[in-house]
Amino acid sequence: MSEQALPRTDGAPPAGDTEPPPPDVEAIVGELQTEVLRKRAAGAYPADLLERLHTEFHPDEGLEPPEVRVLVESARPLRSDRPVVGGTIVFGKRVVRRLLAWYVAPIAQDQTRFNLAILRELRALEERVARLEERRPPEPEKGTRPRAHR
């Protein structure tokens, strides 16, 4: 597997023909990145707007801390949208919920214990990383704003 790019096997210009060289896209991208860094460092971009748009367009990213969801509730609210038989359906659901509670509730409790244990470890790790970072000498300011867009 030595080839780095597709071999020119079709449509290549005959020997002697001249065609413009392709644009140096590495250089163009490099200039573009430098320009963005410069403008960002100079505060030329609307940071508030960009933050707001980021939240709106990527609602799944970093909304709530995991603590909000750590407790698993086994008893869900009971409701029905059916106009006439709704009351009967809710009653039926309540009976099923009560009958299965002995089975479902311990599972929810186990999951909650697991969530808490993981979260405790995660926070301990976070503190440890923070302590390690405090000991490192500060890096020169690059003017970049880390934000994952994937």
């Binding site: 597997m1 080839e3 780095q4 790019a5 597709l6 071999p7 020119r8 096997t9 079709d10 449509g11 290549a12 065609e19 413009p20 060289p21 392709p22 644009p23 140096d24 896209v25 590495e26 163009i28 991208v29 573009l32 990145q33 320009e35 963005v36 403008k39 960002r40 971009y45 609307p46 707007l49 960009l50 748009l53 980021h54 709106e56 367009f57 990527h58 799944d60 934000r147 867009h149 994937r150």
Partner: protein, 399 residues
């Protein structure tokens, strides 16, 4: 050559890059006089894997097909649990990885057919890499198996059973150098492979860039997007950049979004997005031709037909810097720019919108790249050479 393509699904109406590519390749190889058969399942839907088509022989677009029923009924509960863990970034145990694969249309009769066929063909060609037809199928006769993975950097490429299938094959057929680079990084000890590429038909007549712009009333800087409008393809980032260009930079930039299903976006984006829905190829190429750039910020691509289609009409592309495949396309051709975030995406759009000569040079470079390296004739030549080198012909008598 006698070839058997093994695919998870193969039927009219089955959409997707892998299916499109396999259909083009198989059909054109038949056109060159090769004896090609497709072995596949009776399924159409890759979520349910229900047997929707009759088992037995069929012909699709002139390609002989033999279908076999899916024999593992999808365990929805199990797959949902595994998928949750996979999507959250966890590595699931090897046994569960194998279970996940078995729930992607596993067909025991298809495996029997592969065993029966292996000695009657020069090569079994499997594609794409992550389904049961490939992972389990290539185990049947690895000595006769070539895999065209169509792989990108995702959790499934790290499954032990998937990696074992790829390592065990007689050879690999790469669709792009970027795909090969990703695979070699993720999976040590791969067998020999050849870069085959894929073909793109250049439009028979020049596409007038004004026609669709005029018909759709598109003005100013227009960037276009075609494909699934979803987070997995980073479509929200494209819309976010266009919204930012209008609201934050005060520049008029319109996004022409094409693809199936509604483009669900925050209200702020709506004035700047023209949702064209699903369009035919002629309209798509017309919109591409009339666009300042075609934007594909997906980071999970093994080839990207959209990038090639943009170049086929001389329009440059803007891709994501984190996608090795599309970034490499741009670097090799000179036909596009890569960006990392919203600010860079906006600046790239405005750069191309404000410099028509630069846009034209990039687009022309992309078009030259497609013309030279992505023609079907060149692709078929490379495919034939690759199969002959990786699995020397066995002088089989024609049936």
């Amino acid at each position: 050559m006698r070839l058997a393509f093994v695919l998870p699904r193969f039927a009219p109406g089955v959409l997707g890059g892998a299916e499109y590519h396999a259909r083009q390749l198989a059909g054109r190889l038949i056109g060159r006089g090769h004896d090609v058969t497709v072995l596949t399942t009776c399924a159409i839907d890759h979520y349910t894997w229900k047997n929707a088509l009759a088992p037995g022989p069929d012909v699709v677009d002139g390609i002989p097909v033999r279908r076999y029923p899916v024999t593992v009924i999808r365990d929805r509960s199990l797959v949902a649990r595994l998928q949750t863990a996979i999507d959250a970034g966890f590595t699931i145990p090897a046994a569960h990885q194998e279970e996940w694969v078995r729930n992607t249309g596993h067909s025991a009769p298809l495996l029997d057919a592969i065993a029966d066929t292996a000695d009657r063909v020069d090569a079994l060609v499997f594609s794409p890499y992550l389904f049961a037809s490939t992972v389990l199928g290539a185990r049947v006769r690895p000595d006769r198996s070539l895999i065209q993975p169509l792989l990108h950097d995702e959790a499934y490429a790290r499954f032990a059973c998937v990696q074992a299938a790829l390592r065990g094959a007689a050879g690999l057929l790469w669709i792009s150098s970027g795909e090969r680079e990703v695979a070699e990084r993720l999976i040590p000890g791969l067998p020999p492979g050849r870069l085959v590429g894929a073909g793109i038909d250049l439009p028979a007549a020049p596409v007038d860039p004004k026609v669709e712009r005029h018909r759709l009333g598109l003005e100013g800087t227009v960037v276009s997007y075609a494909g699934r409008r979803e987070g997995a393809k980073n479509f929200p980032l494209v819309a976010e950049a266009v919204t930012a260009a209008n609201l934050g930079w005060g520049r008029q930039v319109t996004l022409a979004a094409m693809g199936a299903g509604p483009a669900v976006l925050p209200p702020q984006a709506r004035p700047f997005v023209r949702d064209l829905g699903r369009v035919d190829d002629a309209v798509k190429l017309g919109v591409f031709a009339g666009s300042t750039a075609v934007v594909n910020l997906s980071v999970v691509e093994s080839f990207s037909y959209v990038v090639m289609e943009a170049w086929s009409v001389g329009t440059p592309v803007i891709v994501h810097a984190d996608c090795e495949v599309t970034r490499r396309h741009c670097r090799e051709s000179g036909g596009g720019l890569w960006v990392r975030d919203v600010e860079e995406a906006v600046e790239a759009m405005l750069l191309l919108g404000g410099h028509p000569s630069l846009r034209a040079r990039l687009g022309a470079a992309g078009r030259r790249h497609v013309k030279r390296q992505m023609s079907w004739e060149a692709t078929l030549d490379r495919f034939e050479s690759a199969v002959a080198e990786l699995l020397p012909p066995r002088g089989l008598a024609r049936a």
